[in-house]
């Protein structure tokens, strides 16, 4: 296949970026989207240019490192996959493809398609955990957990922290990410002690990072490669309300 690619090139966080066009020939429909970018980079290298910077690692949809907006959609046109799992058979010979980084104030562009997502780590730092010391745990079967609750917790815990939800949201909100972690822990008995504090802290940290508010567009759920449900946002908001009414004091720093 022959493609026309329009790729966002930006030399540094401070530099002004722009789309640059590339013609790429010899693309096999069996290639993954990132194999295709590798091929392009090999071509750019031989033409004496600097390859396109993009992040990736496991290339099987679990590490959450890769992420780019492909033809206006985070992770591209196929549902429930990451950019690395997208294959070129989805496209046709002669297609034009527009590729750009996640765009959100809280995710500054480092170079080309690479953005900084450390804001996610700071949201987790504010309370996305159960406070337990190594070696202090009781026997694992001491607390039976109904299978249904364990499965629900897992569904929420499947989040890979890629940031597609933020990229898709018109408000650049990270509420789906935040709510997924809060839900994972709040479905489990171990997570109850810190539940309200966690909700208050995480939402505050989320806002402090410069992510926008959720206004129920649902675009996040549409692009989420793990199919995380927006219902968790409602669950988190209920916990947040309870926390506020019960006078939980926020402590994110």
């Amino acid at each position: 296949m022959k493609l026309k690619l329009h790729i966002w090139r930006q030399a540094s966080p401070q530099a002004k970026g722009e789309f640059k066009a590339y013609d790429l020939d010899g693309v096999s429909p069996h290639m993954s989207f990132l194999d295709m970018l590798d091929l392009l980079n090999e071509q750019i290298l031989h033409e004496g240019g600097e390859p396109v910077a993009f992040e990736h690692d496991c290339r099987e949809g679990i590490c959450g490192t890769c992420g780019m907006v492909i033809n206006g959609i985070a992770h591209g046109p196929e549902k429930l996959i990451t950019a690395c799992q997208l294959h070129m058979r989805t496209f046709n010979d002669g297609d034009e493809i527009w590729i750009e980084p996640w765009r959100a104030a809280a995710f500054p562009v480092m170079k080309d398609l690479v953005v900084e997502r450390a804001a996610f780590d700071r949201i987790i730092q504010s309370g996305g955990y159960i406070s337990v010391r190594s070696g202090s745990a009781q026997d694992a079967n001491a607390i039976p957990i109904p299978k249904e609750d364990a499965d629900r917790a897992f569904d929420a815990a499947a989040c890979i922290g890629c940031g597609a939800c933020v990229a898709a949201c018109p408000n650049a909100s990270a509420m789906l990410f935040t709510a997924a972690k809060a839900a994972h822990l709040s479905y489990l008995p171990q997570g109850q002690t810190e539940r309200l504090q966690r909700a208050a802290n995480m939402v505050t940290a989320h806002d402090e990072e410069g992510f926008g508010n959720c206004t129920n567009h649902g675009a996040c759920q549409e692009v989420c490669p793990k199919g995380i449900s927006v219902d968790y946002i409602g669950r988190l908001n209920r916990d947040l309300l309870k926390a506020t009414l019960s006078g939980v004091e926020v402590s994110t720093r």
Partner: protein, 637 residues
């Protein structure tokens, strides 16, 4: 090179307890005065950093990723073993220990393996307390499955994403310590080298991957949890960034590298679809529970699978190993597949796979049941290949997956360089010549949560504290060397991309030091690797500069290290003139075609001392003793 394993005295079941009691302690209020560097944030590194933070040490943790949650442990699918005996099927610490020693084909240390089996119990407790959502039965108790040919059900799992969930538990514990100020996290910092002062590891040199800044960080102890080196093969199931650099640089500074030729090939990966592909995808081994593996009897048969009648199919694992059949161990299933593909029986557009067929399982169980068991894997397969495994058989082929070799460590997980520790896949300690399924996660977490935080304390109690800063001459020298190496890569300005060299190196290592090895092939590799390395330094093209985010430069540094490391791996395979576990020397094969050990001459770990690029490395030996698991020949007939 002195190799004292420092195994505690006493009965095997009491060794670890005894060791803990003998350890010197540091007063809780003094711990914060000790600075410890941890490199890597996978299950081993992340768990170690979090736990040492909890204990009160001043922990500085480094990753080249944008977040500690990206470490490759996240990709582990199948599960984690623990001798909980929740199924009441006769499992015990001793049985897990026994299975692991035997599975490693008697090339691991009994004392270490026993401790691993013992600590497996605590890992599950710890993970559940953190909120890791393991699979459960309807009654609410934890579910187990049998995995990788084990005859008891001791594997805990979280769907097909056990590694992800365990790593997130560990990452969250780490983030909590970062929040508490106990751990300082350095994202996007790649470790380039280790700094040795007065014979002790006292720091590391890093490169910031966005600004390009090269700097030294000093400490009282350095811990490497930087994973394995399967990417020496170029094509492997490891994440793209996985590399040997940190442990290889440590080896170049004098740390012994043990058993580098012990590399595991996983039998069920999706075959390469073309030359352009740089990463292979693993399909969970659990598929072999219901799928039947076959190839056409006739070499070169290019009919579609459905057109090949039953009588012309060779279900070779069922034929050769009637009792284990399609569940034969990883190394055996891998080798048979490669032999048949090499003999022209390969299937698929590139004739580079064997079939894993679910036709009979679908007939027997119904499509719904198969979907329930393997639905996510079938979907993953379809996304990648564009083929529907419900109607045509899957194609699979073996791929490099895990490396048992690594830095030599003593019972305390310390290398022969005082103050330099190695944990998880980065060390060589527990799996011998072959790792059992669902044991990698167990080892990473045992090292990180329960062993290292104590043994580091014991070391620090008697080690010099502070007194070195990044201006120390030793640190400045390492910074200068790192900078010079980087400038040399940028200045080469040749014609070939880093990837093209990596691919060529991978092919040499795969052909001659892969699933099967022999004397002449290894000698050929030892001739070609130095030639390729020389060409690499002459003709590599690394665009851009060292002063910003430059992914070509990052890769170039890693490949430069693989070019040196590959040689020591071949030396190890050549001089270990026996077969054992995953190390299969064609000259040493039983009548049944299995690995034939030579316990008379090779009942030891081989530990390599680097003597300079292109120089012959020196081989040392750590003798092994088996008192509890009698030496025997594996048989899976």
């Amino acid at each position: 090179m002195e190799l004292d394993a420092k195994i505690p005295d006493g009965p095997i079941a009491e060794k670890w307890t005894r060791r803990q009691f003998e350890m010197k302690l540091i007063n809780p209020s003094n711990k914060r005065k000790y600075k410890v560097i941890v490199v890597g944030t996978g299950l081993a590194g992340g768990a170690a950093a979090a736990t040492m933070g909890e204990l009160g040490y001043d922990v500085h943790c480094f990753t080249y990723h944008d977040s500690p949650r990206r470490a490759h442990s996240i990709s582990a699918q199948g599960g984690i073993n623990a001798a909980k005996n929740y199924q009441g099927d006769g499992d015990s610490v001793f049985r897990l220990f026994y299975d692991t020693v035997k599975g490693g084909d008697f090339r691991s240390r009994e004392a270490n393996v026993y401790r691993l089996a013992e600590l497996s119990l605590n890992i599950i407790d710890q993970a559940v307390a953190q909120g890791v959502p393991f699979a459960r039965e309807y009654g609410g108790l934890l579910d187990n499955r049998s995995f990788g040919g084990a005859q008891v059900s001791r594997t805990f799992y979280a769907r097909g994403q056990t590694g992800q969930q365990l790593l997130l538990g560990c990452y969250q514990a780490l983030e909590r310590q970062i929040h508490e100020g106990a751990v300082k996290m350095y994202n996007r910092h790649e470790m380039m080298d280790v700094v040795i002062v007065d014979g002790r590891a006292r720091g590391i040199v890093t490169r910031h991957l966005v600004t390009g800044k090269i700097e030294a960080h000093m400490a009282d102890a350095v811990v490497l949890g930087t994973g394995g080196y399967s990417n020496v093969f170029f094509l492997s199931t490891n994440a793209k960034a996985c590399n040997v650099t940190s442990i290889w640089r440590a080896a170049k500074r004098g740390a012994g590298f043990a058993n580098p030729c012990f590399t595991q090939i996983h039998p069920t990966c999706i075959p390469q679809s073309g030359e352009y592909q740089s990463k292979l995808t693993l399909m969970s081994e659990s598929l072999r529970n219901d799928g039947r593996i076959w190839v056409p009897k006739k070499a070169g048969d290019d009919r579609r699978a459905g057109d090949i009648p039953e009588s012309e199919r060779d279900y070779y694992l069922e034929r050769l190993y009637p009792s284990f059949g399609n569940l034969s161990p990883r190394d055996i299933a891998s080798r048979r597949a490669k032999e048949l593909v090499d003999a022209g029986h390969g299937v698929g557009p590139l004739n580079n796979g064997v079939y894993l067929d679910f036709r009979d399982a679908i007939q027997r169980l119904g499509k719904g049941k198969v979907q329930e068991r393997y639905g996510n894997l079938f979907q993953m397969y379809e996304k990648i290949t564009g083929e529907d495994p419900y109607s045509v058989p899957m194609r699979i082929f073996p791929a490099p997956h895990y490396t048992m070799g690594g830095l030599w460590v003593d019972y305390d997980l310390m290398t022969n360089i005082p103050g330099l520790f190695a944990i998880g896949e980065a060390n060589f300690s527990d799996h011998g010549a072959n790792r059992l399924g669902a044991s990698a996660l167990m080892q990473g977490l045992a090292d990180g949560y329960f062993i290292l935080p104590l043994t580091v304390g014991n070391y620090l109690a008697e080690a010099p504290r502070g007194g070195v800063d990044p201006d120390h001459p030793a640190a400045r020298d390492v910074i200068a060397e790192t900078t010079a190496l980087q400038e040399r890569l940028l200045a080469a300005n040749g014609k070939r991309s880093v990837d093209s060299f990596h691919m060529e190196l991978g092919r040499i290592v795969w052909d001659h030091c892969g699933m099967a090895r022999n004397d002449s092939g290894l000698k050929e590799a030892l001739k070609r690797i130095p030639e390729l390395r020389e060409e690499f330094w002459r003709d590599v093209k690394v665009p851009g500069s060292g002063a910003d985010l430059n992914q070509s430069l990052e890769k170039a540094g890693r490949v430069a290290d693989f070019m040196e490391f590959a040689e020591i791996m071949c030396w190890d395979a050549l001089t270990r003139d026996e077969s054992c576990g995953a190390h299969y020397r064609e000259e040493h094969v039983t009548e049944e075609g299995e690995a034939k050990r030579d316990d008379e001459n090779f009942l030891h770990g081989a530990v390599w001392e680097f003597k300079g690029a292109g120089e012959e490395p020196v081989r040392h030996e750590e003798p092994l003793h088996f008192e509890h698991v009698p030496l025997s020949q594996r048989s899976y007939k």
